[in-house]
Symmetry: D2
Subunit: 350 residues, 4 copies
Amino acid sequence: MKALVYKGPGEKSWEEVPEPGIQRPTDVIVKMIATTICGTDLHILKGDVPAVDTGRILGHEGIGVITEIGSGVTQLAVGDRVILACVSSCGQCSNCRRGLYSHCLNPEGAEGIGWIFGHLIDGTQAEYVRVPFAENSVYKMPDGLTDAEGILLSDILPTGFEIGVQYGHIMPGDVVAVIGSGPVGLAAMMTARLHGPSKIVAIDLDDARLARAAEFGATDTVKSGDADWLEQVIALTDGLGVDVAIEAVGIPQTFTMATLLVRPGGNVANIGVHGKPVELALNELWIKNINISMGLVNTNTLGMLLKLVAEHKLPAEKFVTHEFSFDQILEAYDVFGNASQHDALKVLIH
Amino acid sequence: MKALVYKGPGEKSWEEVPEPGIQRPTDVIVKMIATTICGTDLHILKGDVPAVDTGRILGHEGIGVITEIGSGVTQLAVGDRVILACVSSCGQCSNCRRGLYSHCLNPEGAEGIGWIFGHLIDGTQAEYVRVPFAENSVYKMPDGLTDAEGILLSDILPTGFEIGVQYGHIMPGDVVAVIGSGPVGLAAMMTARLHGPSKIVAIDLDDARLARAAEFGATDTVKSGDADWLEQVIALTDGLGVDVAIEAVGIPQTFTMATLLVRPGGNVANIGVHGKPVELALNELWIKNINISMGLVNTNTLGMLLKLVAEHKLPAEKFVTHEFSFDQILEAYDVFGNASQHDALKVLIH
Amino acid sequence: MKALVYKGPGEKSWEEVPEPGIQRPTDVIVKMIATTICGTDLHILKGDVPAVDTGRILGHEGIGVITEIGSGVTQLAVGDRVILACVSSCGQCSNCRRGLYSHCLNPEGAEGIGWIFGHLIDGTQAEYVRVPFAENSVYKMPDGLTDAEGILLSDILPTGFEIGVQYGHIMPGDVVAVIGSGPVGLAAMMTARLHGPSKIVAIDLDDARLARAAEFGATDTVKSGDADWLEQVIALTDGLGVDVAIEAVGIPQTFTMATLLVRPGGNVANIGVHGKPVELALNELWIKNINISMGLVNTNTLGMLLKLVAEHKLPAEKFVTHEFSFDQILEAYDVFGNASQHDALKVLIH
Amino acid sequence: MKALVYKGPGEKSWEEVPEPGIQRPTDVIVKMIATTICGTDLHILKGDVPAVDTGRILGHEGIGVITEIGSGVTQLAVGDRVILACVSSCGQCSNCRRGLYSHCLNPEGAEGIGWIFGHLIDGTQAEYVRVPFAENSVYKMPDGLTDAEGILLSDILPTGFEIGVQYGHIMPGDVVAVIGSGPVGLAAMMTARLHGPSKIVAIDLDDARLARAAEFGATDTVKSGDADWLEQVIALTDGLGVDVAIEAVGIPQTFTMATLLVRPGGNVANIGVHGKPVELALNELWIKNINISMGLVNTNTLGMLLKLVAEHKLPAEKFVTHEFSFDQILEAYDVFGNASQHDALKVLIH
């Protein structure tokens, strides 16, 4: 079969590799219908994630059809059309039992890290993929759900909702700021309304991205390049700051922005994947009664979000700006790797 | 009357000052029965808290008897023996309505900062004190409660419980680490058992303090000077780290220790008052699904803790190691300022 | 001044009575701009609420302008335009401190019952009213808020939200059933979307009321007179029942309907005011892991809902179907008392 | 092998039956080390549970050693000493994912009812038992845990904790009443302290049972036969009623007692298995802002409670009053069936 293979820092290739087979009773094999590219894949390609070995097939998002099931699989069948959760989890270890799928402890996985696709095992940018812990890690696609709707449920939509909205404890009436209008920031904006905020303020450097944010649920936009960006945001509140500040970029400056925006008693929810430590002004913040959360998506809300998408209550398909076939995947990488130039958000590869 | 007056950095005096009077309808005047000294008072004396003006009477803890009430006070009477909450709060602004007394917005107070005694208005190290928002800020002492039991309820016990135990979301069965065995760390240990942890691990540099921690509720102790302190703590868990790490010192090193100790999905509760920013290793922590909380006590659990102390279910009186009369207050400052030399914890001045 | 006075069972009169005056330092006097009639007023008039004495001025909803303030009132001023909460609460007793304003323990009120207007003290269907505990019981109206928007915030909107939506623990993705499409049921439907349900199913005997429900937020409607009403509702779920069943009628049959509709692990939220005991089939329900809640509104979400109404995010004004002047109040009672004949929902009297 | 077989109403026999075998990949076979008898077994024997067929092996509690594993079982091994949860759950259906194991939807089980041992499939009062969904339904016993400690974790201790303490939302400082001092009521008393109540009031008709309650954690006892039992309990509160009233009997009178005891804003947690409907005085209770919960144990706290028992922080072994060998099981039934005459609580059969 063909797959997108990591060949060491800066190198990748769409090449012929052996097809995967069942390794454990709880595995299934899925023929991929569609996959996509995530910012993390770009980081891996740069060599920023040393755990990824040369030869690894990349990708952790996707939908497909089951072609083979392990002997222990009883609730899935060959022919089922499924969404693959980006984290693989057994559902039965002490972490999974409390919904912390991102830190599944099952030794057949990675003992404490649930994100293994395209990282510690071969991923979804391939014609076939082996899916471990299948009964807890794939979700049947309802009839009528399109590929573009389904693909967002692997990672982006749950990440925005779980790590931004839920960890941020958004409450009815809250003013919410989202710093960064990339896919994950937009997913937080789109799903924030499930918790009834009064305002969703998008903050970004780029006018085009702010315009898009307004289409994804932002009620207000503020350009972070403006000298008075902070005053502009505070003016949208009662003067005390936002109830919830969501960081969706992953650099020290934007994290600090979140801590400046938040009101006493409020929450900072970090979604960004950071490459460096940040300075936390505990000398000023200790007295503010704020809360700072962070984390990898658990996908334990995937089923609920899938229901809302299938009922057309969350327009997940809006994220897909470009479509490619599998054999155009290198072109898809080009477009996604230069997203702003192409005004790209998510690319659908099918 | 006599009071302990801040005379500028490094200077204090026990001197004659005018008696306070009612200023607002919601005030009461309290004749102090007992007060105590807090680490914060030492910081103020060093000049570290610029908001404190020269001439300010220090102190924010105490018990006393009401001698005069404002025209708007209906549920308190002259002669009532009361505990003063260290934060002053109206109970009716939007922050107070959600229990965030530490950030009371009432413009008669300080509009957003509830800690005003011995800070923005005259405090409790005096013969008389004016108490604003009295109906929401004092608690009647039940018969039989001793001064030593009552004095801890002004600040220390609620701080350990609210900012350590509650913000740390301790759950039954949890392993809890408390870094620092000063008064506030010990208060967290003593009140942690109200949430049913399986282990409470005290971590400190000092053997004597660790020995005391064991008397206040710690089930295990680890000396932070040991090269393998981290391994020792982890060995008390299932190998993944503690469920809740409580920081009760207030310096960068101990905050970092808390982030090293905590398991994926766990909580870091910062109680320490920090004078400097800290480095937060978001590059390693973003994926750990942890939560970091911090804050000033609200005293909204004071009434509940008072009930438990009065029923002898929390031995608050154990904190009092030294007793002085009001005119020995400078000596009390000496002892408290050199606490380790005197093996002092809290001093009761009455 | 003129007021609507209860003259004993079946008797009322719009007549001249003495104007109220300040009685306590925390009182204010309000000149009413608008009031309305509640189903409870009809119950009182029938003689069903023995606690109401002959001579009592009725009404517990309204907006007005402050004309006089007590000596202890500092955050309100003469001339303030305010919404009166239907429950009167001190904000400082042990119940109020936990948000349970409906059971305020202040002995100046009614010691344990927060609903006193038009019940234990004179109410709001009058030209002037004395408002106890004013700082915790009135909310300033933002500029631009209309009478029709404001009047719903006294009681109906908070009741539907607090006792239906919040007590029912509605979660994103839930299927919610609301039995009864009167004002309070509609308020639950309108505010349910703040918690992100996937479906809101209105259930009522009357086609016209179901049609209105669809305008207030119901996504589906089921006629409870249909023989297969239960199957129709279950068909809108995954077959297991609704996540939350809200009872908004107040009779045994509708309460039982709610217990039949709810799925294992779900919630029954009773808003209805009941005149009789109900039979609870614990022999069948004990194993269902359901939760049954009930209660009087606290109005502790009034401020939050007011913000959303002022920002035009909740169309509260839709409830007002008829308007009258104060001297047409008897006619307003006629219309409201025969609501279905007049297709009336709420009457605005101003 | 030998097993205790239900032979129709009133009839049982300890007789030779075929040994069970693996039926599904997720099964294990366990050789029983110890089992016990539950009140439910007595109900089944009376013929009160029509779902139980003649020929069924009874029992849903037990500890044993794994002798065979299905092909899909990877985290358990032959020779493992395990505690069997009384409910069987897949861990992966939508109910299990939210911790509602009591209503596991897996069609290999019973599709919506998790309690199947000794009910819908053969149970644990036998030499061997087939355990479905083994990886989610058994817990490895730590070294040193005794049979008497382990046996309580199958059902009684989790039931008291989950359905009494957790569903009752006990908070630090609460006054808790437990009506009924049988095994499950005592389990609620023993585990209540994990949530920090100030008082645990045992209420029972029987002096001997009340004396035992005091040994299991009750701080106060009230005899329900006393004419003033209600006043006695209220006198132990601040006059408003208990915060949490736990029903642990299962008859209408005791359920009504719980609703009389509870304060406004409090919780009634029903643990009792009821055979008849109850009358719920909604006409009086609708205004009390109370919450009524009920349910079958999920055993999702079994692992946590096991940790506390293994660390000797919950003295589970105190429940075992009598011990028998397997071939004395009919005698064990006699003793347990006449528990008050024998002063029996739980019988250990090993």
